[in-house]
């Protein structure tokens, strides 16, 4: 009955320590920033076409980390390259992400 969206909701309440591991979090077919557990890092796949998102670092290929989640359906505080941005919950749901490949740094360097 509970779809993946529902499932993601519980993540916000948990401490990073108890949050499901990276692999469990990414088992869903399409992962968005809305459900990325706090403290976990991911790679941005695509963002909605809004002029403000790009200069704040939310661009495909960037590493993103969720630093906090507002209560009462408040925003997701995402950090890209040490710049923190508050994104409305629905908007965060439109930012598609994927797990960081293990050899990502190596790949990027070559």
């Amino acid at each position: 009955m509970l779809g993946p969206w529902r499932r993601g909701k519980s993540y916000g309440k948990k401490k990073t320590k108890d949050a499901p591991g990276r692999h469990e979090a990414f088992t869903q077919r399409e992962m968005t920033l809305e459900h990325l557990p706090e403290g976990e890092e991911a790679l941005i796949d695509s963002v909605p076409n809004l002029p403000l998102l790009y200069p704040l670092g939310l661009r495909a290929g960037k590493r993103v980390r969720v630093r906090a989640r507002g209560c009462l359906g408040g925003p997701v505080f995402a950090e890209v390259e040490r710049r923190c941005v508050a994104l409305g919950r629905r908007l965060a749901g439109e930012v598609k992400i994927s797990p960081i490949p293990i050899d990502y740094e190596h790949e990027k360097a070559t």
Partner: protein, 597 residues
């Protein structure tokens, strides 16, 4: 960030600056001697990219393309000091004079997006100098930027600066002089025009990676930076962020009320009541013969008595304490954090977290608050926030008056009045959200680094606001009290009181002389409250009077600002709605209070 600080340094002017994006929403022009010639410098609202997302940013873009609308008429007649006939900024055809050079302020701590903006600016083909600002912050983060390499790659002068300390300013001025001189002799071609946004981003990313010293990256963060960023995150998390927010706001309230009361009781009241006013009265009584004129000057409502005591001894202490607290909030970078925390709650009443900034500014003065809404994304949002500021956000002068009026009963009554205002704000928000057209937007707001406010900057800000209060607040208040004195002594007030008596005595259950604040309140917000201080009222009457004053029409200057920023009918609607709400709430309160007490 830091454009306005640089501008202040270069021109010796004082435009406001703070630690969050979107502080500057209007243009400021100033003169500065650069090299050996005098130049006009224009401070432009900040923008992340040239794809503008709000009205303040649109202005910045229009400026570059030379549209005369870049400096809107509404700014011209605000006496900002430019755009008199024959203004050197305009050409004969009314278009803006193309700039001799553009000073592009880059944020060294967020190099990539700054470079993208720089590329966009360079496409216009003006001579460009780049200030690599906030280099202190970049250093703290352990990021070393090779400015020399950046300069060579870009082909324009790049100067590392730290605006708040003035580091790098001299070099910046010298290079600007050279660039302006060279720009006159050689024709520059637009750089890389026609490249797509995607290409520009790739290029900016590549260049940023090249000039950033990656070896030190992530390893050399200073201890203070780490501590600040840990706190910065903690303040955003519901736990401990929300209890901290409650604590911070309670402290702000305590500082504003406590410091203000202290200043009033210990310094300003004794000074004015004991020293200045008696001297003035003595002097006037010797010079002016007893009669109407003497009464107007030093009688019961004499404008040399109340006109000095109210603005300087009763209200000014709170102006000082409020702007002290606000400057700390602004410069620390806490305001956007508070907005982020409250976003979920504010969504329920049709607002967003970023609206917290103009609303908080409104507790100082409604005019900068309404101007600050230019940095909001949609017209609906602008209108909602501006309307709320007009309706139920008391400016500091009025809050000072409330404290004077109500704290004699108890400070809890003051807090009760503020809770009432928040309740009305919530209802107004829900209603407007339903009534006004437009889809709710999702919040995108940068959370700036947490910074320790600098004592010199805070002191300067409080001083600037105080000066502005004396010229724009206190002097009009003296004038309004003079008008009141005239109306009072000539008997016109008695007549007005009779006309308004069904409303004042019949509906609000206040004494007939309470018509006075209703008349004066049109001129200035605090004057809707201060005359009540002189009356003998019961606790309920005090609260009703204060509530009516709170929701009653905003001052005449705010109405003018609303007409300018929106349209005249909007401003008239504000007048109608605010007075209706004021009398409605006042009447209900007086009946409810009589029923309960």
């Amino acid at each position: 960030m830091g454009k306005s600080v640089l501008f202040n340094h270069l021109t010796g002017m004082n435009v406001s600056c703070a630690n969050y994006a979107g502080t500057t929403v209007e243009f400021a022009a100033g003169r500065a001697v650069i090299g050996d010639t005098e130049s006009f410098i224009i401070d432009v609202p900040g923008t992340y990219t040239l794809e503008a997302t709000n009205e303040a940013e649109e202005g910045a873009v229009a400026m570059l393309s030379g549209e005369s609308s870049a400096i809107p008429d509404k700014d011209k007649d605000r006496g900002r000091g430019h755009c008199s006939p024959g203004c050197p900024l305009h050409q004969s055809d009314g278009r803006l004079q193309p700039p001799a050079a553009v000073l592009c302020v880059l944020d060294a701590s967020h190099l990539e997006s700054s470079l993208y903006l720089l590329y966009q600016v360079m496409q216009y083909g003006f001579p460009v100098v780049a200030a690599l600002n906030r280099s202190d912050l970049a250093r703290e983060k352990g990021e070393l930027i090779n400015a020399g390499l950046l300069e060579r790659e870009l082909g324009i002068p790049v100067v590392p600066t730290t605006a708040v300390t003035g580091e790098g300013l001299k070099k910046l001025k010298d290079l600007l002089a050279v660039t302006i001189r060279e720009g006159e002799t050689q024709k520059l071609l637009p750089v890389g025009s026609g490249r797509s946004a995607g290409d520009l981003w790739l290029e900016a990313e590549k260049l940023a990676a090249k000039v950033l010293d990656r070896d030190l990256h992530n390893s050399a963060e200073s201890i203070s930076y780490r501590r600040r960023s840990r706190w910065g995150i903690m303040l955003l998390q519901p736990w401990p962020g929300i209890p901290m927010a409650v604590l911070i706001l309670a402290t702000v309230f305590a500082v504003v009320v406590g410091l203000g009361m202290g200043l009033r009781q210990a310094v300003l009241l004794p000074l004015f009541r004991g020293l200045i006013i008696p001297q003035v009265v003595l002097l006037v009584q010797q010079v002016v013969p007893p009669g109407l004129l003497q009464n107007i000057l030093v009688g019961e409502y004499g404008f040399l008595v109340k006109g000095l005591e109210w603005p300087f001894a009763l209200v000014m202490p709170y102006v000082i304490s409020f702007y002290f607290a606000l400057s700390l909030l602004e410069d620390s970078g806490y305001m956007p954090r508070l907005g982020g925390l409250l976003d979920g709650l504010l969504n329920r009443i049709g607002l967003r977290g970023s609206n917290v900034i103009p609303l908080l500014l409104g507790y100082g003065c409604g005019i900068p608050a309404i101007m600050a809404t230019r940095a909001l994304g949609s017209r609906k949002e602008r209108l909602m926030v501006s309307f709320m500021v007009c309706l139920a956000v008391p400016c500091i002068s009025q809050s000072g008056a409330f404290i004077v009026l109500l704290s004699e009963k108890s400070v809890a009554v003051v807090a009760g009045l503020f809770l009432l205002s928040i309740a009305v704000l919530a209802v107004a928000g829900v209603l407007m959200d339903r009534l006004l057209k437009g889809t709710p937007q999702q919040m995108i707001m940068e959370i700036p680094e947490l910074l320790t406010p600098r004592a010199d900057v805070v002191a300067k800000k409080v001083w600037m606001r105080l000066k502005l209060y004396v010229t724009d607040g206190a002097l009009p208040m003296v004038g309004a009290v003079a008008l009141a004195a005239f109306l009072y002594e000539s008997g016109a007030m008695l007549y007005l009181g009779k006309i308004l008596s069904p409303l004042v005595t019949g509906w609000l259950h206040l004494p007939p002389e309470a018509a006075v604040p209703l008349v004066l309140g049109i001129l200035r917000r605090e004057l809707a409250v201060l005359p009540l201080v002189e009356m003998d009222l019961t606790a309920l009457q005090l609260f009703v009077g204060a509530a009516v004053g709170l929701f009653y029409v905003p001052c005449i200057a705010i109405v003018a600002t609303m007409a300018r920023e929106f349209r005249l009918p909007t401003a008239l609607l504000v007048l109608l709605v605010t007075s209706t709400v004021a009398f409605l709430v006042g009447g209900i309160l007086s009946r409810l209070g009589a029923f309960i007490l």
